[in-house]
């Protein structure tokens, strides 16, 4: 399914949207989506795909907007030992790393 997300990201870029891609690169424990899962996000707030069961999409979308503006990729850590994860609440108790980059 990540291919459809990439096709969607390309279509958004063609339509003049600024797009970021987020990819799950590593997981530990019972994380809901496996490594390789992707989320495409636009500066205007459109989303396609997923990197979790919905627990961290909001935080990832926020990081994606930063990356769209800065152009600098980010490697995000989410997990129960992470204060930020407490905030966004990874209810499954898993841990994961998400790579966020701009489509340029």
């Amino acid at each position: 399914m990540s291919d459809d997300i990439l096709a969607t990201a390309a279509a958004w870029a063609d339509a003049g949207e600024q797009v970021a891609l987020a990819t799950v690169v590593e997981t530990w424990g019972s994380s809901p989506r496996p490594a390789g899962s992707m989320l495409a996000v636009t500066a205007s707030g459109r989303m396609a795909g997923s990197v979790s069961g919905g627990c961290i999409e909001g935080a990832v979308a926020e990081a994606a907007r930063q990356t769209i503006h800065s152009g600098t990729p980010q490697l995000l850590d989410f997990g129960i030992s992470d204060e930020r994860a407490w905030e966004v609440g990874l209810a499954c108790g898993g841990k994961l790393k998400v790579f966020v980059e701009r489509l340029a």
């Binding site: 291919d3 690169v25 490594a35 980059e101 489509l103 340029a104």
Partner: protein, 229 residues
């Protein structure tokens, strides 16, 4: 990701060419393998990622890398453009399978009954020879007619298809087994056929039967992960 890399990825997908996207996580540098070369250990990990169809992470030269395989879509070959096939085709497509429905009976395999689905009107043995099922292909026969199902099953058993299923009762299947033995298939080979097809969820309607078939195909591919309590 550079737009050129994304376009190459999408082109590889359209051409059913497997590729691996290698990302250096420190700075986001990317290579699309094998179109772009990777140094030894990374190329080896890329090959593993493709073989297992699973991403790999590794440290190379003091840097963390993520290798994401993009394999061609799984395929489902459905023999018999029957009512169950009409439910099975869209469900399989939603699960990411590229579906082909094979039926030489043109009254069944019509565009009206299968909007947007690839249809093949050849006799099943010729159709399967042309479609050449590989280890990323599932084959399901639904016609109930030995003249159509048998040549398809014969061809499927001679292929590395990861799933072969045949609609029909236990009694129908016993007769089918006898015929397939006459065609030279032994017990072990014939045991590859899931029959009666699909997980036993008590399916009654065509969409429910389609769901049970796709559930069994997913189970065959991924394997049950939870142990029984």
């Amino acid at each position: 990701m550079r737009r050129a890399t994304l376009d190459s990825l999408l082109a590889a997908r359209a051409a059913r060419r497997p590729v691996v996207l290698a990302i250096r996580l420190g700075d986001g540098a990317q290579h699309l393998w094998p179109e772009e070369a990777l140094p030894g250990a990374l190329a080896e990990a890329a090959r593993t990622a493709l073989d297992l169809d699973r991403p790999q992470t590794l440290a190379f030269d003091g840097e963390a890398w993520f290798l994401q395989p993009f394999t061609p879509p799984l395929r489902l070959i459905v023999v018999g453009a029957v009512h169950v096939a009409q439910a099975l085709a869209p469900l399989a497509a939603m699960l990411g399978y590229a579906v082909t429905v094979v039926d030489p009976r043109r009254a069944f395999a019509t565009e009206e009954r299968f909007a947007g689905v690839a249809l093949n009107h050849d006799w099943p043995d010729e159709a399967l020879a042309a479609l050449s099922p590989d280890a990323r292909t599932a084959v399901v026969t639904l016609t109930h007619d030995p003249k159509l199902d048998d040549p398809a099953l014969d061809a499927a058993l001679r292929s590395p298809a990861f799933y072969i299923g045949a609609l029909g009762s236990t009694r129908t299947h016993a007769k089918r087994v006898a015929r397939l033995k006459e065609l030279g298939h032994d017990e072990a080979a014939i045991a590859r056929i899931a029959a009666p097809v699909g997980l036993d969820i008590g399916a009654v309607t065509a969409p429910e039967i389609a769901l049970s078939i796709m559930a069994e195909i997913v189970q065959r591919r991924r394997g049950p992960r939870r142990r029984a309590p």
